[in-house]
Amino acid sequence: MRNRVMMIALAVLLCTTAMLGANGTEEGAEKAEKLVFWHTYSDGETALFEQTVLPAFEALGTGIEVEAVRMPYEGLKQQVIAGIAGDAGPDVMRMDLVWVPEFAKLGGLVPVSQREGFDSLKADFFEGSLATNYYNGEFYGIPLNTNTKVAVWNKALLAELGITELPTTMDDVLKLAQGLEGDDRWPLAIGGAGSWGMLPWFWTMGGQVTDEAFTRSTGYLDSEASIQALQTIADLYAQGQVGPCLLGEEPGTWGGMENGNYLMMDDGPWYYSIVGDSALENTVFSTLPAGPGGSVSVVGGENMVMMSTCENQDAAWEFMNFMVSPSTQITMAEVGMIPTRISAATDPEAAKAPYFTTYVEQLKTAKPRTPHPHWGKISDTLGLAFESVIRGELTAQEALPSAAQTIDGFLAK
C-alpha cells in the first residue's frame, strides 16, 4: 500500500515538473534572445564599450540581450577550446585575427560568407583585414578593428641628442644615435625575438617570409635579402645598438622608455590607451624609419567571429553587423581602435586620438602575418631561427634555409 502511494506521489511530482519545465521554455521563447560575447578590451576600451557601444545596441530594440564578458588574453586560446568543447564558450567573440584560420580548420567557427548582407559589407572592408578571415573558400568572420606598430620616440633622449627632426631612415637613426650606446642606454628597443616583435624590423630591413600568396617560403625566407636583413639586426644587437629586451631581458620596452634606456621602440596604439597621459607627454611617434625593404610594420587586430556552438545565429549576425558598423567603429576609434571599414577610417570623426593618423599611415605599407591554420607553428619556427641568429649561435645563412623548408612543410598541410 505504502509503495503504491509513493509511486503515485512520484508520478504526480514528475508530471508537475514536466509541465513547469514546458512552461519555462515557452516563457523563455518570449523573452529576449541572449548572446554571450567574449572580448579582451583593455580598461579604457572596456569602459567605452560598456558605457557607449552596448547601450547603443540595446537602444536599437532588437530584443537581443548581450552578455559581454571581458577575458584575460593570457591563456585565452585554451579557454576558448575548453569553452567550445564543453559547450560553455561564447556565442560571439572578438578574436585575435591570427587564430581565425586555425579555429576555422578545427570546425570551431561558423562561416559567414553566405549570410545576408555579407557581399555588400565586403566591399567596404580593407582588403588586408578581410583576408585574415578567409579559410578554405569561406570567410569565417568579419574584421572588427585593425592595428599596427609605429615608431615611438623618447622625447628626453631626442632632446639630449639634439635631434629636432625625426629621422626617416634606419641609417639616419643609427648615425644620429651615435654615442648613445653604453651606460644602460640603447638606440633601439625591439620587443622580442618572436615573430610579432621581429617581423616589422625583418621586413623593414628587406626580409621576406613567403611569396605574396603565402604558398611558399623557400626562395623568400632564405633569399639573399632575407639573410642580409636578419644578419644586420643580429649584428646591431651584438654591437649594442639594440637593447636587451630583444631577448626578453631587462629593461623591457615600456619600462625602458619610461626610464630613458631606449631612444625608440615600436608599439601599437594600446601603448597610449594603457599607459595613459604620461605616454603622450614623454614620447613622440612617427612611422617606422625606412630600411632597404621600406617602412614595413605588421598588421594586427581582431575579428568578430561566430562560434559553432552558437544557437541564435541570426541574432549573433545582427550583433556582429552592429559591432562593425561605421558608427560603432568611429566610437571605438576614440581609444585607438582603428576601423576596418574604409568609410569609417576615412571619416574625420574617427581621427580623434592624436596618434590615429600615424597608425593609419603606417597601415598602408604594413604586412599581415601568414594567414594559415598552422600559423602558430610557422611563428615558432621563425622565432627559433631569429633567436638562434641573434644569440650568435648560428649565422643567418645557416638558420634561414632550414626554417624556410620547415615552413614550406606547414604551408603544404
Partner: protein, 296 residues
C-alpha cells in the same frame, strides 16, 4: 566450490566499502587513460570531440625523432636528479633538528611548512621577478653586493641558469613536506634503541647510521616515490617562469605536452607525450616497489 563461495561472500561484504572508490578510480583514472591511449593512435579533433581516422604509431615515431622531446625528457630527469636529493637531505636535516627538541618547535615546523601551502602561480611569479636580469633583479643585486658576480646574470635567458631559478623554487616549496613526513617517521623510532646504543658506547654518527637511517627506510622510499611523481608533474613553475624558453630549452615533458595540446591543438600528439610520461613514471615507481619488496 566452497572456496569459491567463500570468496564470493567475502567480495559481497567488501564491495560496498570499495565500490565508491572503485567507481571514482574507473571514472577519473582508468577511463581517461584508455581514452588517452586511443587518442594517441588516432587523429583527434578536440572541438568536434571526434577522431578523424586511425594513424597507428606515427605520433610515437614523431616523438622519438622530435628534438624538443629529447630536451624535455633530459630536463625532466635532471630536474628530478637535482631537486629530490637536496629536498630529502635538507628535509631530513630539519626534521632531525626539530625532533631533537628545539625550543619553539611548533613555530619552526609551521614556518618550514608554509611554502608547501602557498600557491604555485604566485610564488612562480615572485621567483621570476627575483631572478630577473639586469641590475634590478634581487638575486643579481644580492650576489653583486656580496661580490660573487661581476656583472648581472641574465638568469632566464640560458638553459641551466633558468633551471637554477626553477629548481630553487621546487626545493624551497618541497622541503617542508619532506620534513613533516620524516618528522612523523622519527617519532616512530623507539627511544629505547638510542638509549641502548648509548649504553653500548655508540656515538652520534653511529646512532644515525645504524638506527635512524635503517628504521626510516620505508619512510624514505615513500618520500622518494612521491617526489619522483612530483618532479615528473612539474609544470606551473616552468610555464610561469620561462614558458619553455629560451628556444624550448627549458621545456619539460608536461609543459611541452601542454603546448602540443593547447597551443597547436595537436591533442593526439599531446596524448602520445603523456603516454610516454606514464611509462617513465611507471618504470621509476616500479623500481621502487621492487625495492620495498626486497626490504620485506
Amino acid at each position: 566450490m566452497t572456496r569459491l563461495r567463500t570468496g564470493l561472500r567475502q567480495w559481497k561484504t567488501a564491495l560496498p566499502f570499495i565500490l565508491p572508490g572503485l567507481i571514482l578510480v574507473i571514472l577519473f583514472s582508468v577511463y581517461p587513460i584508455f581514452q588517452n591511449a586511443r587518442m594517441s593512435i588516432t587523429n583527434f579533433n578536440v572541438l568536434t570531440q571526434k577522431s578523424q581516422g586511425f594513424v597507428g604509431f606515427t605520433n610515437y615515431v614523431r616523438a622519438a625523432s622530435d628534438p624538443v622531446v629529447v630536451t624535455a625528457t633530459v630536463n625532466t630527469i635532471v630536474y628530478a636528479l637535482v631537486c629530490i636529493p637536496i629536498e630529502m637531505l635538507l628535509g631530513l636535516f630539519i626534521a632531525a633538528l626539530l625532533h631533537s627538541g628545539v625550543r619553539g618547535n611548533l613555530v619552526y615546523r609551521a614556518l618550514c611548512y608554509l611554502p608547501v601551502i602557498t600557491s604555485w602561480v604566485i610564488v612562480s611569479l615572485i621567483f621570476r621577478y627575483l631572478f630577473s636580469s639586469g641590475q634590478g633583479g634581487l638575486v643579481n643585486y644580492l650576489l653583486g653586493g656580496l661580490g660573487l658576480i661581476s656583472a648581472p646574470v641574465a638568469w632566464l635567458s640560458h638553459r641551466w641558469t633558468a633551471f637554477v631559478a626553477i629548481w630553487s623554487l621546487e626545493i624551497w616549496k618541497s622541503i617542508g613536506w619532506v620534513m613533516v613526513i620524516y618528522l612523523a617517521g622519527l617519532q616512530g623510532v623507539p627511544k629505547a634503541l638510542y638509549e641502548a646504543a648509548r649504553i653500548d658506547g655508540s656515538g652520534w654518527f653511529n646512532r644515525l647510521r645504524f638506527i635512524t637511517v635503517p628504521l626510516l627506510r620505508p619512510v624514505t622510499v615513500y618520500i622518494l616515490v612521491n617526489r619522483v611523481i612530483g618532479a615528473f608533474s612539474a609544470f606551473i613553475s616552468i610555464y610561469m617562469i620561462t614558458d619553455g624558453g629560451p628556444m624550448n630549452r627549458t621545456e619539460v615533458l608536461l609543459s611541452y605536452m601542454y603546448k602540443a595540446g593547447f597551443q597547436y591543438f595537436e591533442f593526439s600528439y599531446a596524448s602520445t607525450l603523456s603516454m610516454i610520461m606514464a611509462v617513465l613514471i611507471l618504470m621509476f615507481s616500479g623500481t621502487h616497489r621492487l625495492l620495498i619488496k626486497e626490504e620485506k
